[in-house]
Symmetry: C2
Subunit: 267 residues, 2 copies
């Protein structure tokens, strides 16, 4: 767990992360043991966060959990993000055309953060997928995004991977990964060859801004039971076409007719 560096606010957010990391209701003493904060400090941070609705405190059990204000904020974050809401319709379409699950992700530090998932066949279980994080060195989406990261950021990201060997196909060294990323940069698409989970394969591509900045990634996921890698590669044109559509929409959205920005009036 990274130490906070941004004064009181950083510490408060760090505590928030620690509550999130606990995976369930935590007691004061749990946080006290695991964290670097003295009793009184932690106590006040928790009080502040609770009074702000970022945490909720169960007085009966004496436990803290993440608060509802986060859900409200995240809803706004998602619906106001430039990528996810704009891309949603296109994901839907791509999923219908291919009959496969389609994922949209963004880089969150060195990790992959899934921001949308569409799957025609199965029941959509969106919140459980949206917000989930995964490793970037061994997923199609992760590699696709890493491949287009500026050198400095790539170096940093590569240094933060665990390189855990999930399967026999997992790339477990920065060197192997760098070589793979070079291929991806040329090809424009990345593959997950069962590197994260046996039987799960995917084809992915990054989504870039006009300026070449990496905004996110788009992938089509399948299983070895349904498709081969070659099969998947046939979907590349569809994938890249969808990517182009999304990039074009994003640009239109970000520079709406070059007019002055509308300000919403509080009601």
């Amino acid at each position: 767990m990274a130490e906070a560096r941004d004064g009181t606010v950083g510490k408060a957010l760090d505590v928030l992360d620690r509550v999130a990391a606990a995976g369930g209701p935590v007691r004061f003493s749990d946080l006290l043991e695991d964290g670097p904060y003295p009793k009184a400090t932690l106590y006040r941070l928790l009080q502040t966060l609770t009074s702000q609705g970022m945490l909720s405190h169960d007085a009966e059990l004496g436990t803290y959990t993440l608060g509802v204000r986060l859900v409200r904020l995240a809803h706004k974050a998602w619906s106001q993000a430039s990528l996810a809401p704009v891309a949603h319709e296109w994901l839907d379409r791509l999923s219908r055309e291919t009959g496969e699950a389609v994922h949209l992700a963004q880089l969150d530090g060195a990790q992959v953060l899934y921001v949308d998932k569409v799957n025609t066949a199965l029941r959509v279980d969106m919140f459980s997928a949206t917000g989930r994080v995964g490793p970037s060195y061994c997923t199609g989406l992760g590699k696709a995004m890493l491949a287009f990261l500026p050198d400095a950021e790539l170096d940093q990201a590569l240094g933060q991977q665990s390189y855990h060997r999930f399967t026999d196909a997992t790339l477990t060294t920065p060197e192997a990964l760098r070589a793979e990323l070079a291929h991806i940069r040329e090809a424009g698409v990345a593959y997950d060859r069962e590197e994260h989970e046996p039987g799960i394969i995917c084809i992915a591509t990054p989504i870039l801004s006009r300026g070449g900045r990496i905004l996110g990634g788009l992938s089509i996921t399948s299983t070895t039971a349904r498709r081969s890698l070659d099969d998947l590669s046939q979907l590349a044109p569809l994938l890249l076409d969808t990517r182009a559509k999304i990039e074009s929409d994003i640009h239109a959205w970000r520079f709406p007719e070059d007019g002055p920005r509308l300000r919403t009036v509080p009601t």
Copy 2:
């Protein structure tokens, strides 16, 4: 917009809310105008929030938007909440049994916060519903929850309603609302008689803890085109049954076999 009272952390979170309230990318100067913070202070708050990933700053456009860290945190918040994940399967079932949309909500201050939505027929568009807030004085869920609030909290909540007349059926005074709440307390279920939106009706019930504390609310929504209010009231037993199932699961979940709490080990 409420002023912050919790020191620096409160101010930072207030700024976060202001960015959320803007409804899209905001520039520094927009926030400066609308908010009570002096230039330098606002600048540092934004820097801190950005460096913490709670905001993201688009250097090209000079705008701020809500950051991805929020989405990550909210995912955790939702999946660790005591109500939503536990209730989800039951909502699913209730929706299948009735063929109608089923909502799960919690009170967030004086507002209704939707935390889950299930709809068999239409495509599930979950993130767009989850996290959304609505008024409590003119929705079935809102009234169901208000009706079981302790006096002190109810007084506060009633004072914070807008009492805007959305439709002819909207209750527009605290007095009318109090009378309605008394009925609801007796009946155990609340109805939305097109009070918020013409053509939209619903039947709702609160979800309570063992101790009588209000945890959330559950509703079945329909349209006047499909069902009458009498029709809806036929569904009360199913609704109350589902409520009982959820309450029972919650209790089991919150006191897992009375054993010591498991601590997750960071990997």
